[in-house]
Symmetry: C2
Amino acid sequence: MRILWYNKDMIYLDHAAATPVTQKALDAMLPYFTELFFNPSAPYLPAKHVREAYERAKDDIAHVIGAKGADLVITSGATESINLAFTASHGKVLVPTTEHAAVLEAAKNRNHGLINVDKTGLIQLDDLRSQLTDEVDLISVSLANNELGTIQPLAEVAEIVRTVRQNRLERGITMPLFLHTDASQALNLIEISVARLGVDLLTLNAAKCGGPKGVGALYVAHGIKLHPISFGGGQERGLRSGTENVPGVIGFATAATESKKHLAGNRKKYQEMSNYLRQVIKNPTETHSDAPIVAQNSEKVKHNLNSPTKSTQNSPAHSIPEPIFLGNPKKQLANFVPVCFPGLDAERLVYKLEAEGIFVSTGAACAANKGTKSHVLAAIGLSDEEIAGSLRISLGSTNTQDQIMNVAPKIVEIVRNEYIRLAERSLK
Amino acid sequence: MRILWYNKDMIYLDHAAATPVTQKALDAMLPYFTELFFNPSAPYLPAKHVREAYERAKDDIAHVIGAKGADLVITSGATESINLAFTASHGKVLVPTTEHAAVLEAAKNRNHGLINVDKTGLIQLDDLRSQLTDEVDLISVSLANNELGTIQPLAEVAEIVRTVRQNRLERGITMPLFLHTDASQALNLIEISVARLGVDLLTLNAAKCGGPKGVGALYVAHGIKLHPISFGGGQERGLRSGTENVPGVIGFATAATESKKHLAGNRKKYQEMSNYLRQVIKNPTETHSDAPIVAQNSEKVKHNLNSPTKSTQNSPAHSIPEPIFLGNPKKQLANFVPVCFPGLDAERLVYKLEAEGIFVSTGAACAANKGTKSHVLAAIGLSDEEIAGSLRISLGSTNTQDQIMNVAPKIVEIVRNEYIRLAERSLK
């Protein structure tokens, strides 16, 4: 996969915020901007060809999640998909406290309840069960969290949903119960099958898996009645009016298909890289000969890891607290390394890393931009100080092993220097 | 402007349905898919550059309509813009019967009244005045109709709005009154100034002026409170959540700016072409030496026009009814030639023209696709038979004078042959 670069030397570790459009996806989109620009609802043959390509692209996207094109509603992104999914509810919705702003805000505009999570971000199933009263008709749980990478036990939630449905049926209660999952963050890392997950509604986002911004999809199981949130020409079976974004959907389909094809290989690659990063960050003075990533480059690693250690050998290294890796180590997206450096200011780390050409974030971009503290990190019980010291590192298609081996010691050095600065300041 | 073609020989006369993305717009978009893919809300410098480019693009779009970027909400297209605009209303909305489906459907989901139009599609101002009760707080009138090209007297509507506001103020009535216009179809043909038009809300659509599909904007005057139709990360001042479609907005800005730059020249060009088309269609046996378009190619015109006449000189030409040009000849977009051939089946004409490489439509693409008859043509009082015989020809950036001189006699010939076929059938 060829990626054009803003800066060839940059190391981008914020794939959870945005991914570049893959070359294949871009190549597939291009003709639909120009020679195949026709309105897919127009009556002449070239427009009908565009309609066919559009429907085929929907089929391809659906295929990736084990569904068919007719089950998808194409939207302008995950936020719209989520808001459309929530129109299935006429009662109460339940959502975990760690959901993306789109889920939380959509919930807050309705009768809703918040489900607690544990310290690793996993939904507390007992809390879900206790709040699952007969007025609840929608549960929305992300497949994987966008700040922690924590993978939720969707199959267990689906099992609870089935039990409640059965119980309602037996008691003659007609209130339906639907399960929605926001799978935006997971599409390129977890094999998704709507049937296996047992969900009724599923949100996808093109921009998180190598497709273009401004395109999303909502899978809708048969028999679920949604209500359009805007009205017009009646496209997408009346659920989503407006001329179809043909190039966007073609790009989405190409990226999603590619993503699925390389899923296992990429997951393995990202897992090795993130394991390596964790080990170096955790034990900065060790050589990491046991990390899989090292096998191919052991000389280089030793060199890289030794130099920062040397440069700071006279510093008060004993005062450096252990980093805290966030999320659930056993149920986590392979590309996520969310980490807290207690006492540090993560925003300073972001800028210091940026000066080295390394781009990470402190959390969800939309929250970060508003300067608010992460509701996700607060929900898993982090103190304000811990939240302030937390970075979200998310690997992806643009990363190579060499990059990660280059980055790891730099993170260690910058973190150590920040702790030294704080220690020196407190001595003054 | 270089346009890539589906088929070099095709003559596309359906620019009201869709326009190809201009090469300049596409070139401007491309880097934002790849090397500048960053989430504009991310904290590092390259992402901030993307944010700046995005805001600059919004400024550019706003500049085209005499506004500033902060007054715009970027949406996924005109349909969403219109639906968002309608959230300004908590009372009753008034819309003409000939509005686009997005306006009519958004109105139908609220307390609303329909304003009559005259036979040319012009809003009947007396009907507007008589329905303007104190419960009305929003009037939505398109700047130009998407099937007729009729340009509405927005300034006169704005004057009525001002009078009513003044009157309400004098009577101590606090109900506001806002004016929204859907300018989607007009951006590349009419000089638009929100101040001069006197509108409070204005909808734009990138895909109708050489920008990409899936992007629109809503101009919102100061002091108007809208309500988001979907909720999330709080982008676009909380009115339109979701990661910004950066490439789409860059493309929109480039196309809109280009469009404004060439507006006067294009309008003149389209006017000459559409005048020529009308003359040939109306008087197929004359040579059109007075048409401006002919001046440069008089030999060719004579040749082209004579040949179809010769080939049918023994046919019952006297039985051919006059074509009816639809819309308001004095207040019409320069690129529109909507025409009714009484008694003919316009769908047959579409397919016969297509066989000659000429692409036209029978009306709005979204309506045509559903096989419903045009509500616009019904609203201006056409009979079902007249509606069935109506074509929408809309010129645009892809057309040349040579194309139009080539097309005109072909339309005449196909129409004549259809009438002959009908006449012969009725004789059997």
